[in-house]
């Protein structure tokens, strides 16, 4: 018999799952459909470079459909809601799409309207987000003419896609303004609701050191409650004020809007409560979630979606075969952090092991150093764009890089648990 696999979202996670499933079932019993509301697949790591003139926005957007293997159906439509009790997706045009297995891969959405005043006066004039193509382009224009004053980079609250991106923005802004010879006249402030530069202690200390070296002011425990574009200031919930001339803002994130219209599917922020190790949703046994759409306590990042892909596809196959699921996903995340001046830092971690110094992917051999600035990491980050379009989206394993975090020596136990839950 033929099974219907419906994948909501044709971004990084949805695309790689569709292609991986298709490759392992060529011409066989799976009817795979990917649903997305548009046909624009954005290479999101590229957005960071747009404001500094380092990436052409036209180059980072491609067709979603074109990234899918032959035999995978693409349906361009908006999702109204999911009824898990009926195994049916309702589209906004009234069509019903029944499924045997549903994969929620609809990512995270930006919610700038949830912060008072953020999209009011000054929005796209002195206030921008570089998390969209248009916002990144607007910011490029604003930065070109920015010669003096205070540039504030603010992440409103976690979770956000790519939690290191605000730091990378600060580092690149420092490089860019130096190159333009105006750095001494511009103050760069990074305002974060966290109590340090980053969420993980060892990496946080390293990154705080880098910020200080580059004379970037770190304003911690700043939880933005309101943005006053006319006065040019951020106001925190505890009534601290922070003036800006130019604001690069990372707005609140939530799940896709249909999640909120689907009873029992998501949490209060619209993310899908998901088993940490099997990727099965709590909503129903035949509903899985992957990538930024989940509520998993790991980074919202493409590398995570890639590492999850292997577990997810295996578990879909096991579910259809009536077998128990594997608990093989360990929260593995792997992120390059651009630090400017053609250097980058690399971090590698999972649910249990925080980012630590060492080498990647081979312990002690590398070649890439972890938690340390190097030119090689920068080159690797640039090379990743090709890997993304040609290997990662196609759902292929990357040579030498395992889905689970690799142990880095006798002192650190490998925390990934590989087991089968019935």
């Amino acid at each position: 018999m033929s099974y219907r696999i419906v994948i909501l979202g044709g971004g990084t996670a949805g695309t790689l799952v569709a292609n991986r499933l298709r490759r392992s079932h060529v011409g066989s019993e799976l009817a795979i459909t990917v649903v997305d509301q548009d046909d624009r697949h954005v290479y999101q790591p590229g957005l960071l470079f747009v404001p500094f003139g380092l990436a052409d926005p036209r180059r980072i957007v491609r067709s979603r459909r074109a990234q899918l293997r032959g035999g995978v159906a693409f349906r361009q439509a908006e999702v109204e809601r999911v009824a898990t009790a009926e195994n049916t997706v309702y589209l906004s045009d009234g069509t019903e799409v029944p499924y045997d297995v549903l994969v929620v891969a609809s990512g995270a959405s930006l919610l700038p309207d949830e912060t008072e005043g953020l999209t009011g006066p000054g929005w796209n004039e002195s206030i921008f987000t570089y998390y969209t193509v248009d916002g990144a382009l607007g910011l490029r224009g604003a930065l070109e003419g920015f010669n003096r004053g205070r540039l504030v980079v603010n992440m409103v609250d976690m979770p956000i896609k790519c939690p290191v991106a605000p730091l990378e923005f600060c580092f690149l802004a420092d490089w860019y303004l130096r190159k333009r010879g105006v750095r001494d006249d511009v103050e760069i402030v990074y305002a974060t609701p966290l109590d340090g530069a980053f969420t993980k202690p060892v990496a946080s200390a390293h990154l705080a050191g880098l910020l200080a070296e580059k004379r970037i002011v770190l304003e911690t425990e700043f939880a933005t409650g309101q943005v006053d574009g006319e006065a040019g200031q951020l106001v925190s919930w505890d009534e601290r004020e922070l003036a800006f001339d130019l604001l690069a803002c990372i707005p609140l994130h939530g799940g896709a809007s249909f999640v909120g219209r689907s009873p029992g599917l998501g949490d209060e922020l619209g993310f899908i409560p998901t088993d940490h190790a099997t990727l099965q949703s709590q909503a129903a046994p035949n509903v899985f979630a992957i990538g930024d759409a989940t509520n998993l306590p790991t980074s919202k990042a493409g590398s995570v979606a890639h590492f999850e892909g292997e577990t997810l596809v295996e578990n879909i196959e096991r579910l259809l075969a009536g077998q128990g699921l594997v608990s093989s996903f360990d929260g593995h995340a792997n992120c390059f952090i651009e630090t400017g001046f053609h250097k980058a830092l690399l971090i590698d971690f999972n649910y249990a092991v925080e980012p630590l110094p060492g080498r990647f992917p081979e312990p002690r051999i590398g070649p890439l150093p972890l938690l340390k600035e190097s030119r090689l990491n920068h080159v690797a980050k640039l090379a990743f764009e090709w890997i993304y379009w040609h290997m990662l989206l196609d759902g292929r394993d990357l040579p030498g890089i395992s889905a689970q975090l690799r142990p880095r020596g006798p002192r650190r136990a490998h925390n990934a648990t590989q087991g089968v839950t019935e």
Binding site: M158, E221, A223, D267, P297
Partner: protein
């Protein structure tokens, strides 16, 4: 001063003052931790948040973030900051005897 458990033992806390065993918690311990952190009296509104934090943690294994508190606890974010200055989720978790919220990765 380390608060004492119902049986007179010192409560086990981590370096930041969060209880390491949430089962040791009593309302009196919560009140003592509140006082140490500058909240003289816990009002009904404080308790609403503290109890919500504790119930959620015991039920789901995770402490809610400030955004989730604002949406689910019945107390708006602005007021949360008035009740628990600086970091409401962190301070309310400490008073509720549960681990530091790790909603942020």
């Amino acid at each position: 001063m380390t608060p004492l458990t119902a049986t007179g033992e010192p409560v086990a806390v981590d370096a930041e003052g969060f209880l390491t065993d949430s089962a040791q918690w009593t309302e009196q311990i919560g009140e003592e931790i509140a006082r140490e952190n500058g909240i003289e009296t816990l009002t009904d509104r404080h308790w609403q948040v503290v109890k919500f934090m504790r119930t959620t943690y015991l039920g789901t294994g995770a402490a809610p973030s400030i955004r989730s508190l604002g949406k689910l606890s019945g107390v708006p974010i602005k007021e949360l900051y008035q009740l628990f200055p600086k970091g409401p989720a962190k301070l309310a978790a400490k008073i509720a005897g549960i681990p530091k919220p790790r909603g942020c990765i």
